[in-house]
Amino acid sequence: MALQDVCGFQEIALHHPASLSISSDDTTLSTYPGGKMKTTGGQPFEKDDGSPLHLVLPPQRSLVRSRGRHFSSSLTTIPCPFTLSHGTTTLGFTFQGGVIAAADTRASCAGLVACPVAQKIIPIHSHMVVTTSGSGADCMLWERILAREIRLYQLRHGRRLSVTGAAKLLSFMLHPFKGTEVCVAATLCGWDGGDTRSEWDNMRKEDESAFSPLLESEPSASASRASSELAIDISTSNTETSVTSQQADGISKEVGGTASQDGSDQILAASCRSGPRVCYVCSDGLLLKGELISVGSGSPYAYSILDDGWKWSMSVEEAVALAREAVYRATHRDAYSGNNVDLFHITERGWCRRRREDLKDEYHRERRREKEIVQQQEREKEKRENVQKKKTGN
């Protein structure tokens, strides 16, 4: 996508997302909601010129919505070649110390564990991550699209899009595909904040020392993503370390090097409410803002742990422990979740990532603890019996 844009492979009309709304003349009320993704004519592949996505849409036939008997039509959807199934446990919640996002790492396909070390939490920019659930391919694509749009917004307006704004944008982009097989259930977790140039400069100085030991180096999948995200950035004048796998570092440094802001942006930034935010976006079109959100086949188990232990006034350690426990319990009982747990913590200063932890070790630790408790109880019981015997003996 980014490469296409840079090489001019596709026609690029720089449409601002806000200009998509109204296409009719001024004297009547607009009768066109939702964006310009409607297709016209009977061409085999309809090019969509009006939206920032510039995606080539599939032929009309497959866009018929399969909803309800009332609206059935003579056209049928193209049948899916294999059953899509999605199992995962992801969660995100806010508390006084920021936002915690956690997920398991099992990518399953019906009964097969396709990948035991998948990465389900993807950073979008320095202060926001997205947890993915649903179809893996769809999630990957839509999150890259979202990352691109947020980056463009940032370059045009000089400030980061808020979490609710990003959620709205994603929901808006997914709406035309409602009724098709696109299945994306994403939780956007992040910190809304006013940005000023000075904040970025301070962050740049701190980032080099603070974030480096915390961030893990990732296997090849995310390294390639890191380099492609760096490629998305157009104004690369100030990137000193261009080849790192630390995406937060890369993006925040690039942001610091972009064009200067004028005063009006700072006023806008100051008036935005800052703080931790969690939003759930679904390809159905559902958009929910909340404090505590869990998605996936393991979410009922995770919800039970989270509802029990969540308090706004938790400390960071308590929150991390709660998230770990919730994912662990869900992976224990849900067949489609498992392997490791990824945990991200987002604060005012950006996101930082905890070391990926194998839940097998946690399981064994718990079994050992239980065994020790049982042994201790037996020892005490024996002691009591011995004492009693001595008494009756005497």
Partner: protein, 163 residues
Amino acid sequence: MEYLIGIQGPDFVLVAADNVAAHSIIQIKHDYDKMFKLSEKILLLCVGEAGDTVQFAEYIQKNVQLYKMRNGYELSPAAAANFTRKNLADYLRSRTPYHVNLLLAGYDATDGPGLYYMDYLSALAQAPFAAHGYGRFILNLRSFTVRLIDKEGIHDLEKLPLV
């Protein structure tokens, strides 16, 4: 299931909606707001398919606000209800229908209070009381009897008439 209810009085309209946002078996949110403020004196309550509700209701909301900006005065509740109905009807036979059930409540300076019931097939009716959801059939009874069953047996409570 999502529930909306509206009751029109002599100089007011009372509307209520439940606060649950559920996704299959899980209640994701307990404090979800289903009311959309179209103008100072018009409220739109919207339930139905996930995504469609917010998309459609916000579209109507923005258009009603746009009308005020362009013309300097607000749309009346009757006009807003008919505009909503027209949009819903236009999309009904397109490839992308909106599956939403609505209640529109408003107060007009000349006509007084008005409650409009609209369903997903874009049937519009002004009614003194209306509801959507599992509870929508209760309102058709002129009076109802309440009986209590406990371990002592069946007790008849006083018959409660609806005025």
